[in-house]
Symmetry: C2
Subunit: 293 residues, 2 copies
């Protein structure tokens, strides 16, 4: 079940944002009737939204295939604290799409080559081609988040980046991109719970990193950095959404809705035939026997 007005409810900024006032356990826009098992409800709702996501994606793909200069594009940007659920969101929401029509890029610690270029260099190289739904797992925003919190560059350098990011995203919009910028918002308690889960399950050890615990002491610094991002980089053409993400089932449902709304704004259609279908049918039905060897 889709909830068409969710983007209005979850939008934050531009201007002052009080992240502490957004309860990570809340469930804005949730329909009244989710029943006794919200997880099961969410799975079913996402499967239903998924059918429509798939159709929208196919129209995007088909249009770009017929017209390589096709201008409608979509790019989702996912940001979150560690354990915030970026990977789970991709698995559960983006997993509804045709894998051939998605382009997912994760941005980790920059390589030496990446560091030798301006910070947007690796981002620009990773933009999705026409017809393909792009998903960034972390993004250029790390360059005003982790970089700021750890003082990896002078304050003036990261300070200049807000403007650079805004101009870059304005360019993307000029080029036809519909941006879906999502911050998955979790609480420190939920993060601890998830870290402890990773420690209890040997199939999750690989997701655990001892430095994540050290990072927790900087929680307030990160929240302040996020608030600045939300305040300063969310114009109407490239807004930020904050999705309460302590409840994974709500998070997945909300992100699926935000993506569906974004695709809906593109007003996609299937491209018309560029051939005479009656004539083609005659050719196929009238052809001489085609032998298999």
């Amino acid at each position: 079940m889709a909830s068409p007005g969710l983007s209005k409810l979850l939008r934050v900024g531009p201007g002052p944002v009080d992240l502490a006032a957004i309860d990570p356990r809340s469930t804005p826009g949730l329909p009244k009737k989710v029943g006794r098992d919200p997880k099961e409800w969410s799975r079913a709702a996402i499967a239903e939204i998924g059918v429509e996501l798939f159709r929208q994606q196919e129209m995007l793909f088909a249009s770009a295939k017929e017209h390589p200069e096709y201008r409608k594009r979509v790019l989702m940007v996912l940001q979150a604290m560690d354990c915030g659920g970026k990977d789970g969101t991709i698995k559960n929401v983006i997993g509804q799409l045709n894998p051939q029509g998605v382009h997912i890029v994760g941005f980790g610690k920059p390589t030496a080559e990446e560091l030798s270029h301006p910070f947007l260099w690796r981002i620009k190289r990773a933009l999705p081609a026409a017809g393909v739904v792009g998903v960034f797992n972390r993004s250029h925003y790390e360059d005003v988040l982790v970089v700021r919190v750890h003082e990896l560059v002078p304050a003036r350098t990261w300070g200049d980046r807000f403007g650079q990011i805004n101009r870059f995203e304005r360019q993307l919009v000029d080029e036809g991109y519909e941006l879906v910028k999502v911050m998955l918002h979790i609480s420190p308690d939920e993060q601890r719970k998830r870290l402890l889960e990773r420690l209890e399950d040997p199939t999750k050890f690989w997701k655990y990193n001892p430095s994540d615990v050290d990072e927790r002491s900087r929680w307030p610094d990160y929240q302040a950095a996020y608030a600045d991002v939300l305040e300063r980089c969310g114009p109407d053409h490239a807004p930020w959404y904050v999705v309460p993400a302590d409840r994974k089932w709500y998070r997945n449902w909300a992100v699926a809705n935000l993506l569906l709304e974004a695709l809906g704004r593109l007003k996609l259609t299937y491209p018309p035939a560029d051939f005479d279908s009656a004539e083609e049918r005659r050719r196929l039905e009238g052809e001489r026997q085609v032998n298999s060897s």
Copy 2:
């Protein structure tokens, strides 16, 4: 329900291959009990195999994340006549995996830049990184199939390519790739049926190309070219599988099995912890309050 011996049943070559003797409607290796609705059975079986595919893929991803020099890799190569079902296979089988851990590349008509390089240039650039399941939708084999049938290069040039392909794939195996080369085998009647379906449904017009009908007159030439590929490029370390593909439900089930077998041959495991989990638990449980702001 997985069928562990399918790779033996579907393997063809090296040496003489009589494609005409393989019935595209046959269902080798199918369990006795598929019930009255084979489509429904196949969906359920693939979902079950999908859970294990997902787990195997996660182990591959996790291992490579911990050890970037990790040598185990997997690459599926899909080839087929037009309407053979490559896209449907990717949607239904590869769609079972985590989209973040797959790298799907389609090879269309080469660009001017690609043509200015040796034919394997664009292939080498598209190889999946460690930890990621690679899928080629068409491949270097087009350079001895469509290129041969349409005489796009002199016979001597494409003739030399069999050896080049064999040496290239030997290199891939040296580098740790497990290759899963699949030809989806359909009949000309099934192709006509699928082309007619595309003409009847406006949401499928974009998949229809009038030149596909012209290509049908070359069916025997393509089959002969495929037979040569199967005969000459299928050593034990890089075998070919021919999947009868007139029945989509069988095709999907068979390809899911072949991929699962390939991942199984890699004998993947989750990487062990590189930290002291008891100590980490103590750190998390003993930390001072982390404030949300």
